[in-house]
């Protein structure tokens, strides 16, 4: 049984709790280390956020919880927090000298389990184990619900586990993310535990939980209580987003989503919690967008116009995304870009949804594709045009010749916004503007973002937001190298744009068009988190790849350049399949091979085909940044 090989600490929980402390202040680091050791915890200290992330990624199950300071030089504590929550699902406690309510609230919003004020007292640290315990209990519950579901269906839960539920094995070091195995596992055997009845399972699990809490983390078995959590891979998230869009964001509910997703091993609880995260993410993006958007939101909505898909290969990818599940596509494509946005916005089922995000879809507008609210108007054309246009538009309503569609380029102002934000576009450019963002049915409640697109094709689109992207395109030399290029080119740059918007959208609730500003934020956030700056240069290259856009719409602020760069970095890993993290508002890092990026949902083979070459190339960049950080790939992911 588990306890047999459990380390001593298991028997005396919470002793032995493995804590990672991150703080740039060496004095506090030392004090905390001493305090935690006093509590009999196993402490590891880190002076830099990126070192911490590195450590955590290296040993996925190496720590039980993280305590981090909010103000750190290399990375904002909140960003780190989001990464941790998304990538690793570890309980994180924030610390700060500043106890202002707004900051504390932000911490909680970003997913912190607790927020401690410095100076910290020993007694506060003594109880931190409760967060770890709580999470475990929730995991067990999830597993159990899975179990019961399985029981009902009579299906064994196949997990890919590491091969055996051999608890005694100290390590097979399969540090692989269990959830990954869960998700990916195909026919692996089920831990015997699973075949037990729910009750048995519960009790055995509980027992295991306590005993094995600190067991070898290699427990890959599903039965391992340690991690039964679901890993929301890009594919999975894509499905999720698609389902959400299909249902309609307003009417969405975990059960409905679950049914639509048709993933047997997924439980309603999994979906519910993911939906909650998603909503928070979107709303955060939306807020950021609203704050920033001067453009009025990108027309991500245009994306939805799936029509665009048809037209360009690239666009397709984008559009695919859009149509599919607006979100899903984003996410997936961008893999990491926060394409999340997609879902929330008005993407009506078709609409890529993503579009609504401030993603500078506006570019799209120029493409013309965007103009159609939901239907990809001549997707290709649009795309190309939009892309080119966006570029132009962004810059200032460039009425690109390409603009097939409409003048939409409202972008002028959006462009302005976009520009700043657009910087992401570099990022995004990678993302095929195909998104029907432009298309995004403005009619739908497109979130303000869509308006950006409006500039593009659709006259009806109010917001020039779309331009947002355009600027970026321009700014990004690498990406938009061909601003006015023909369609092909357009797609290229356009790609980045749309995707960008998508990315951006994901940032916050589908970036409302109004938030062109948010776009940059998003991008920035995407990138920033990851020390994008270095990567940016490379990322720009990526931008061209459609996939990228989606990913990092995070904060534009620093993003512009960084974004591009940042996105680039993730790509590097793409080759190896990066981890996709659904960062709230950030880019996702996906551990998918590029190949995985395809969006199965997207049925536009044509679309994808175009991309592949580019994308793969793009992906090959050596981004300095860690892939996980940038989900820029998103767009690029269109690659089939």
């Amino acid at each position: 049984m588990e306890s047999s090989f459990s380390s001593p600490r298991n028997d005396t929980f919470p002793a032995g709790l493995r804590v990672l402390v991150v703080d740039d202040d060496p004095t506090w680091l030392k004090i905390l280390e001493k305090m935690l050791k006093r509590c009999s915890y196993e402490v590891t200290t880190c002076g830099l956020a990126r070192d911490a992330l590195h450590l955590l990624r290296q040993k996925k199950d190496g720590y039980d919880m993280v305590i981090s300071d909010v103000n750190m030089p290399d990375m904002d504590g909140f960003r780190l927090l989001e990464h941790l929550g998304l990538e690793m699902d570890l309980p994180v406690i924030m610390m700060s000298v500043d106890g202002e309510t707004s900051r504390v609230m932000r911490g909680v919003q970003h997913g912190a389990c607790d927020y401690l004020l410095k100076p910290i007292r020993m007694k506060e640290l003594r109880n931190i184990w409760q967060h770890v315990f709580r999470k475990k209990i929730h995991e067990i519950r999830d597993i159990e619900s899975h179990e019961s579901l399985e029981g009902i269906l009579g299906v064994g839960w196949k997990t890919e586990n590491r091969k055996k539920p051999d608890r005694n094995r100290k390590k097979p070091k399969k540090k692989k993310n269990r959830t990954e195995s869960l998700i990916r596992s195909g026919s692996d055997q089920y831990d015997e535990g699973y075949f037990l009845s729910a009750d048995d399972l519960t009790s055995s699990r509980k027992r295991k939980d306590v005993d094995n809490k600190y067991d070898d983390k290699d427990f890959a078995d599903f039965s391992s209580t340690k991690k039964a959590r679901v890993v929301w891979s890009v594919d999975l998230h894509q499905k999720f987003v698609k389902a959400v869009h299909h249902i309609g964001f307003d009417k969405v509910g975990p059960k409905k989503i679950l049914d639509l997703m048709n993933v047997p091993w997924l439980t309603r609880e999994n979906v519910a919690s993911h939906l909650q995260k998603y909503r928070l993410y979107l709303s955060r993006l939306q807020k950021e967008n609203e704050l920033k958007s001067s453009c009025g939101g990108m027309k991500h909505s245009d994306y939805s116009s799936k029509d665009a898909q048809g037209s360009f290969g690239l666009q397709n990818s984008i559009s695919i995304q859009q149509s599919d599940a607006a979100h899903g596509s984003f996410k997936v494509s961008g893999d990491n870009l926060v394409s999340q946005r997609v879902g929330t916005k008005s993407h009506e089922s078709d609409i890529e949804g993503i579009v609504s995000e401030p993603v500078a879809e506006p570019k799209k507008g120029s493409n013309g594709n965007i103009s159609d609210p939901q239907k990809t108007r001549s997707p290709q054309m649009d795309f190309n045009n939009s892309y080119a246009e966006t570029k132009k538009c962004l810059i200032g309503n460039v009425p690109d010749s390409q603009k097939i569609s409409t003048p939409q380029v409202h972008p002028s102002h959006s462009i302005a916004l976009v520009e700043s934000e657009v910087n992401f576009t570099e990022f995004e450019s990678a993302i095929p503007t195909k998104y029907s963002w432009n298309e995004i049915p403005l009619n739908k409640a497109q979130k303000p973002l869509i308006q950006l697109n409006s500039g593009f094709n659709k006259p009806p689109l109010p917001g020039p937001h779309s331009h947002f992207q355009v600027d970026r395109v321009q700014s990004i030399p690498s990406i938009s190298s061909r601003p006015s290029t023909a369609e092909e080119d357009v797609t290229g740059p356009a790609k980045s744009k749309p995707s960008y918007s998508e990315c951006i959208n994901t940032q916050g609730s589908h970036v409302s068009p109004s938030t062109t500003d948010s776009f940059p934020d998003q991008i920035k956030s995407c990138l920033v988190n990851h020390q994008v700056s270095e990567a940016i240069s490379t990322s720009t290259a990526n931008m061209e790849y459609q996939g990228f856009n989606l990913n990092c719409i995070t904060d534009l602020e620093s993003a512009q350049r960084n974004l591009i760069m940042g996105s680039a970095s993730p790509f590097a890993s793409l080759d190896d399949g990066f981890q996709i993290c659904w960062y709230q508002g950030d880019c996702y890092g996906m551990n998918l091979g590029l190949q995985n990026i395809e969006f199965p949902e997207y049925n536009d083979p044509a679309l994808v085909s175009e991309v592949p070459a580019h994308l793969y190339d793009a992906l090959r960049f050596d981004y300095p940044c860690e892939p996980s950080e940038y989900s820029v790939m998103g767009q690029g992911l269109f690659i089939s």
Partner: protein, 147 residues
């Protein structure tokens, strides 16, 4: 002085530091409680580390303060970091001067900042002298274990 007298002196010094609000007794006592066989001079180690890191932070602050144009936001940020550091040893007076400095930052008052920084440094140095004296007394009183 005999040992008892020395020990009394140590206690007096400690009380003085608290009463005069140089140090926050709560935090200081916390640090003292962390002292054990593994780290018998833990408090002194922490104080030493604090002063060492302070030098680095002061450098950053001064650099920002004397650059033109002044980035007050950055200045505020650096001072915030320093303030957080002072909370580690519970340096009350120093912390208060830091708050003053931050006020001037908010008001974008460069002169005010320069003067406030001077006061911060003064308090910082004064406390340092007191603490060094305190630790020395402790050593003399045989309260410091030789590891």
């Amino acid at each position: 002085m005999d040992r008892n007298q020395l020990q009394r002196q140590v206690a007096l010094k400690r009380s003085f530091l608290f009463e005069q609000c140089y140090l926050d007794p709560q935090q200081f006592v916390q640090l003292e409680e962390l002292q054990d066989d593994a780290n018998p001079n833990f408090v002194e180690e922490i104080v030493t580390l604090f002063y060492k890191d302070s030098a680095r932070l002061f450098q950053k602050i001064e650099q920002a303060l004397y650059s033109r144009p002044i980035d007050f936001a950055k200045l505020d940020d650096y001072m915030h970091q320093f303030k957080g550091s002072t909370s580690s040893i519970g340096a009350i007076k120093v912390k208060n001067e830091c708050s003053q400095f931050k006020e001037f930052c908010l008001a974008a008052n460069a002169d005010g900042c320069v003067r406030a920084l001077e006061r911060v440094k003064q308090e910082h140095q004064t406390l340092r002298i007191h603490l060094e004296n305190y630790f020395q007394l402790r050593r003399q009183a045989g309260l410091v274990q030789r590891v």
